[in-house]
């Protein structure tokens, strides 16, 4: 297949797949999260930015966690499109409006400094990463393909557990911690990377997992031996 033909096929797939994803994504959670976030910023407009924008980041991240919910995943498991590609399409549909809304609310609320903006951005990225990681694992392990329900309670438990630690040792800091901005950037960025990695690992296609490949290698020779016999 020439590169031009392949590019055309990819474009057609993306357009068709994105349409399917947009129809099948449960939109109520992201929309409710967006509404609640807007109300929070409207209510706290003019006050300091950190608290309302932390709430916004949590709400939007929890809403985005429902992007992987796909009750038809068992039917689609046998399709040639692998799991990671189906999930990528769903993310391409859900994430742009989520990030756009966050940027608009950030601009509306305003921040005191560029460092604060960067810290809030790192926090948003970290929460979204963790949310997708939890949603990926939960969707994969759920028999119904729905993992979004696990995201908000898991983040709730994780953030409260983090808050019970002394500020110096909090892995997911809400508010200020000793050491200034740098530890906040680093910890939330690390959370984003870890969450994204977990999400990627959970998006491996079940049919091409290492276990199933090994099982095939073991099974095929014995089958051929049977044929020869």
């Amino acid at each position: 297949m020439s590169p031009r033909v392949r590019a055309g096929a990819v474009r057609r797939f993306a357009a068709h797949g994105a349409g399917y994803a947009a129809h099948s994504v449960p939109w109520f959670p992201p929309l409710l999260a967006g509404l609640v976030s807007t109300l929070v910023v409207a209510a706290r407009h003019g006050h300091e930015a950190a608290a309302p924008l932390e709430a916004v980041a949590i709400a939007l991240a929890c809403g985005a966690g429902f992007a992987f919910d796909d009750p038809a995943f068992q039917v689609l498991a046998a399709s040639p499109t692998p799991l990671w590609r189906r999930r990528l399409l769903r993310l391409l549909v859900v994430m742009p409006p989520t990030v756009l809304l966050w940027l608009l609310l950030l601009r509306w609320q305003g921040t005191a400094s560029s460092q604060e903006t960067l810290a809030l951005a790192a926090q948003f990225a970290g929460l979204v990463g963790l949310s997708l990681g939890v949603a990926g694992v939960a969707s994969r392990s759920s028999s119904r393909g729905v993992g979004g329900i696990a995201v908000a309670p898991t983040l709730f438990v994780a953030l409260i557990l983090s808050t019970t630690l002394p500020p110096r040792w909090r892995p997911l800091p809400l508010g200020d911690i000793p050491g200034g901005w740098l530890p906040i950037y680093l910890r939330w960025t690390a959370a984003a990377v870890i969450g994204a990695l977990i999400s990627l690992l959970s998006s491996r296609d079940p049919a091409t997992s290492v276990r199933s490949r090994l099982a095939r290698r073991v099974r095929v020779p014995s089958f051929s031996r049977t044929l020869r016999a």
Binding site: G148, I149, A152, P153
Partner: protein, 268 residues
């Protein structure tokens, strides 16, 4: 058409459902996570009382209160998850054909919240017993605060079920839980803080009014949940009106007496 079931059988069904749901709620992952936080809070108090001298409940007891407040929020999430089970598993239509209808199931679920409340009461009694054994004085007002933590579990459980009845999405209750956690009253006391769910008042009488306020809220949430499941209207209305009466009376007393313009502010 559904066969009419005698009231005595319905109450039997409710008790059976409450037993099953109560046991399930005790092993629900959300409740177990909440129990973990309650144990962490209690453990911090016990450690402080073992390692420091002259520990008072007023100085160190807050870790216990916070742990059990988180338990109440996670109980709400667990109750909501249980109440949405029919919708999640798509068994609403199947269960609607049973002789005992949706109201019996809702009452059973509401009654099941007694199980987490009893476990909470036992744990708090254990912490209070330990404190008493260590010579840490738990006065009347502190005892009422402990009672409040038990009632919180019932109130939030009923809230989770009411939300599931009217807003059947698994995303709503976690947002409510987050709101409870993030939007705590500020350090500067204001009279409206007295009607926040997790406030500690420094007067036994006002703390008792706060317990009454929480009980009233529980009655309102239960009525709201039952109103959705087409329960008998007079009984639902009666419990709702009683709840509103209790909440209105206690809220007026709390708002006027907890932090008056002239006099000491009794918010903890």
């Amino acid at each position: 058409m559904r066969a009419r079931v005698p009231a005595s059988s319905i109450s039997g069904v409710v008790v059976s459902l409450a037993r099953v749901e109560g046991r399930r709620s005790l092993v629900h992952p959300f409740f177990l996570a909440g129990l973990g936080f309650a144990l962490i809070g209690s453990g911090l108090f016990i450690r402080a009382s073992l390692t420091r001298s002259q520990v008072t409940w007023g100085d160190q007891g807050w870790t216990v209160s916070v742990g059990f407040a988180v338990l109440a929020i996670l109980t709400m999430m667990g109750a909501n998850h249980a109440a949405l089970r029919d919708r999640r598993e798509r068994t609403e239509e199947q269960h609607s054909m049973l002789p005992a209808g949706a109201p019996a199931r809702t009452v059973g679920l509401l009654t099941a919240m007694l199980w987490p409340a009893v476990v909470t009461a036992m744990l708090l009694a254990g912490v209070a017993g330990f404190a008493a054994a260590r010579g840490i004085l738990i006065g009347g007002v502190e005892a009422v605060h402990l009672l409040e933590r038990v009632v919180d579990v019932l109130t939030f459980g009923a809230l989770g079920i009411a939300i599931a009845a009217w807003l059947p999405s698994p995303f709503v209750v976690p947002l409510v839980g987050w709101a409870m956690f993030l939007f705590t009253p500020s350090e500067r006391p204001a009279s409206w803080h007295a009607i926040a769910p997790f406030v500690n008042l420094r007067s036994s009488e006002l703390a008792m009014w706060h317990v009454a306020y929480l009980i009233g809220l529980t009655a309102i949430f239960a009525s709201v949940a039952l109103a959705r499941s087409s329960a008998r209207l007079p009984s639902v209305l009666a419990s709702g009106v009683i709840g509103i009466g209790i909440v209105a009376t206690s809220a007026v007393i709390l708002l006027t007496s907890a932090c008056p313009a002239h006099g000491p502010c009794l918010l903890g």
